[in-house]
Symmetry: C2
Subunit: 431 residues, 2 copies
């Protein structure tokens, strides 16, 4: 018990965020043991900050009544996320053990997929009916839960959203003023089914602190809070980076080995298939390589420059698409820019590479071949790096998904084809 006590003391003293990261780093059994002895005052704040997947793994290892009490201390949105990671039988038991209203709320929340506005909204939004006065509203606010009151939403008696009020509006009004005359009716709303990435963009562009979420009949369901939207934007950016190379979009650094393998292996197998394509191109020129083995030595340089050039264009284009910098009208301009940049960089690198190869082999023919190959290879690579995400987006697909694997295949095929093709044609100069 000694080491556990030390850990428990250390975790109790640290920020809940730090404690959560530490628990995620432990095997789930150990984390569950620690959670059971953590002081009640901190455990809720820590569990709320766990990655939902990790929270699910840990919570299904502790007694059910304790899980239930823990979930009740958390925000409904976070509880719903965690519940979705519990096995269905446990989830149902926990839900039916809860107070009816809380259970109903959680079931509502879980109806919306996590990648939608409904999936990231907070429930229990405070709203007031439009027929109150300022005085009545203040009296109502005295009894309302303290947390998270940035805006006061105004609805009709069926909780259909009419508008919004700031606390400042109330503060500067006279007690007898009627809400109806003060409410701002041009309130920005998002439907519960809207993609969370779009919600996050709207939040950023509107500079609001919270966005109300409504159903088809304009009933107020909840709000998306600014810090949730910010987290979404950041997560989506990193997901793009991970998808780019065929890691899992939401893969975490400290996941278990089997889970990591399950996420990555399919893309590695796909990559093996596409690499065989590149190998086939090299195979076509096996006779030329047999005559000049120096060509084989230089293959990594051709592949490396093409791959890096393409990756640069790919990263910049994916970012541009995600940040909505690339409109329908600017696609052609982008492709032209990348082709020109690839050509310019290709000319410079061709010059450098040809010089280096000459110093190494003293064969001007070989320098010429690698120089020409670099120009073709790098121009194509930059163009392809921009074209792949644009094409995927135009097809309604994710512009990042494994695009670096496709891009590398194109640059390898074009690069090897150009390099070995020029070498075959210019063979008389290589001797």
């Amino acid at each position: 018990m000694k080491p556990i006590e030390t850990v428990v003391r250390a975790l109790s003293d640290s920020h809940p965020e730090t404690a959560a990261r530490a628990l995620e780093g432990l095997p789930a059994e150990d984390a569950a043991k620690i959670l059971e002895v953590l002081p009640a005052s901190v455990v809720g704040a820590v569990v709320e900050r766990l990655i939902p997947h990790a929270a699910g793994e840990i919570l299904r290892r502790i007694p059910q009544d304790r899980t239930q009490r823990l979930l009740e201390t958390m925000s409904p949105r976070q509880s719903a996320l965690v519940l979705q990671h519990l096995e269905e039988s446990i989830r149902e038991q926990v839900l039916s053990g809860m107070p009816a209203e809380a259970g109903r709320q959680l079931r509502d929340l879980m109806r919306y997929p996590p990648e939608t506005a409904g999936g990231i909204m907070d429930l229990g939004t405070v709203s007031i009916p439009i027929d109150l006065t300022v005085q009545e509203t203040i009296a109502f606010l005295r009894k309302a839960p303290r947390e998270a009151l940035h805006y006061l939403y105004v609805t009709d008696r069926e909780r259909r959203l009419i508008g919004v009020l700031g606390m400042r509006d109330l503060l500067l009004a006279s007690p007898r003023d009627r809400i109806e005359g003060m409410v701002h009716r041009d309130v920005k709303v998002v439907p519960a089914t809207m993609d969370r990435e779009e919600v996050s963009s709207i939040m950023r562009e509107s500079r609001l602190m919270a966005l109300p979420v409504v159903d088809e009949e304009n009933h107020l369901l909840g709000v998306v809070r600014h810090e949730v939207a910010a987290q979404v934007a950041q997560e989506e950016a990193f997901e793009d980076m991970q998808r780019l190379v065929g890691a899992g979009a939401d893969e975490r650094a400290l996941e278990s080995v089997p889970s990591v393998v399950r996420r990555r292996l399919p893309w590695l197998a796909f990559n093996l298939g596409t690499a065989c394509l590149a190998a086939t191109v090299v195979g076509i020129f096996e006779d030329t390589i047999a005559r000049f083995t120096a060509l084989a030595v230089l293959l990594p340089i051709v592949a490396g420059q093409g791959g890096n050039t393409g990756a640069q264009a790919l990263a910049v284009t994916i970012r541009g698409l995600a940040m909505r910098e690339i409109g329908a009208g600017s696609r052609r301009r982008l492709l032209t820019k990348e082709a020109l940049a690839g050509l310019t960089n290709g000319l410079s690198i061709a010059f450098l590479a040809a010089g280096a190869i000459f110093l190494w082999y003293r064969k001007p023919g070989l320098s010429l071949v690698i120089g020409l190959a670099m120009i073709v290879n790098m121009t194509t690579a930059a163009f392809t790096g921009a074209a792949i995400p644009l094409a995927l987006r135009a097809l309604g697909r994710d512009p990042a998904q494994s695009s670096s694997i496709v891009m590398t295949t194109v640059t390898d095929v074009v690069g090897f084809g150009a390099f070995l093709g020029f070498a075959t044609v210019l063979a008389p100069m290589l001797g």
Copy 2:
């Protein structure tokens, strides 16, 4: 003039964010012409949303007095960003033409580098002295600027920060209550020199809507607003992705060709140097390749699998570091996990690749060589992909900066070395 009129009408009707993206997509001369004829009612909102770099390019092409009026319609933070992108002579003229107080504020803002809390804060924060009553505060608020009043900061008479009040606190208090008795003194502050990425993490973890920025004597300088912090988090994530491949960290999709070349060419040249290392390794085994040219054909497969495996580990580790999921205590666990995942994936891919090669060449010796090389190559690649960003972070460097170039070099050297080394040792079985 006809086409310009159409563009101007279209831009006036669209959201300022959309209009800004469209202007950035045009050559700076054309954008400047359009800006001069855009209605005064929209132009400020559009310019405020331009990337500061683009805004600088455009504004230095329009008459100086118009630039000045435009900057005055923008938020001080945004004006300061734009001013930093104007040539110094123009900047000084514009600043000295402004009202003294506005000019001083902007000069203050520009003192802090853009990557610090001071560089992203809003100026002109409303604060009240602590010796007021609620009634006096409300009277004061009636005269204060309307925008952006989430929190009311409370200071002493020298504007040193004492605490914070919510509008709701005021709303529920009696007019005679003294601010001194109501103020929340445990207010979270950030120093003006703090890195903006850290500010953004603190904002997310604290769930606040604004963070006050103070100098060394605790004077309130301004606030960082939540949507600015959210933008920072997202930008930093994409910057990591772009740095990873040696594109400019803040490179935009529609930058000019010369600027793109300037950003990317140095890393491509560096990549050429490291690719020569890989080529040298292949060169060591030139005799073996001369005997078995099939080896040259298979080089792209070895390089491709190593590169992709390494890139997966790299992306996941960089994300983990940025999101603070990887603590000092979990580094070893991460490296072990990656090595094991690389080994498992390596075994699977070795099996697949050996099978495919056997079907292709019918040479069991060649299958054995590629299988062994895959296992060594992919285990090393996954380990290296995690180790490089961890090492860079430990050295106090940026964990993303061009780490994919370094990683590819390691995987190429190890992959080619293992593959051609095994082939040389097992040469009698290849015949």
